[in-house]
Symmetry: C2
Subunit: 143 residues, 2 copies
């Protein structure tokens, strides 16, 4: 199948497929006489795997590692699990950060009375005391 069909089959854009090939996520496919790329089922399965892992937030580098494990054939469940657990922790950390942020932001917005007042408590709060702790870490008050 041609690249457009593969794109439709996987929900991946044509340009992205070519990009994946350039950076080594997908192997270069065969070419027709007119230089068009020709893909088979193996490519399709591989690309769907990539899409799915990307949707789960794995970086392209992690995807590459997973693919290498699979290609190698001698991976253990533990190898995979390790990558998964690490990523899960990353996602949880980011989510918690975002959650704290959301809380802080919510509080801030609530201080805003709105209307045509030329003063704004929210802006004043932003000009006042630091949001971060004394060590310059990320914000922590939302909760």
């Amino acid at each position: 199948m041609q690249i457009g069909e593969l794109a439709r089959a996987t929900g991946c854009r044509v340009v992205t497929i070519r990009y994946y090939e350039r950076i080594g996520i997908l192997p270069p496919p065969a070419r027709a006489a007119n230089q068009y790329r020709i893909y088979g089922e193996a490519h399709s399965r591989r690309l769907r795997f990539v899409r799915r892992t990307r949707e789960l937030g794995f970086s392209l580098d992690e995807v590459r590692r997973l693919l290498r494990l699979i290609e190698g054939g001698d991976y253990t469940c533990d190898d995979v699990r390790q990558l998964g657990v690490q990523h899960l922790e990353d996602v949880r950390a980011r989510r918690e950060d975002l959650q704290r942020l959301e809380g802080a932001l919510h509080e801030l917005v609530q201080q805003c009375v709105g209307g045509a007042s030329p003063d704004c408590a929210m802006l004043e709060a932003l000009f006042a005391e630091p949001v971060t702790g004394e060590d310059g870490r990320k914000p922590a008050e939302g909760a």
Copy 2:
């Protein structure tokens, strides 16, 4: 004060300060005879404001808009509130995405028995049916 001192005072890196100047977040300061940048209290306050809003996840463009409001002097509380509410909604959406992701990932990792088994339920699941729910939301990325 010189750029290094400003950096220490605001918790912002020297290179980042110069970057902010280049993209118009900070106005070009006065220069000493040796071309060194010389900052005053106004710069320091402005930069702290930028840092704080950035920590709250506002994009540099939103920061610019906030700064313009302040500079203009004729902003209303509603103007600010609107930006804040919009951003809060963006953050909430991202957090919810990430939360869904976390759930899916957690389930997936739990299927993994670990150990030296050459099969992995997690990998198999990734090769099987789509991970995203029927709501077809986009995956959350970056912070």
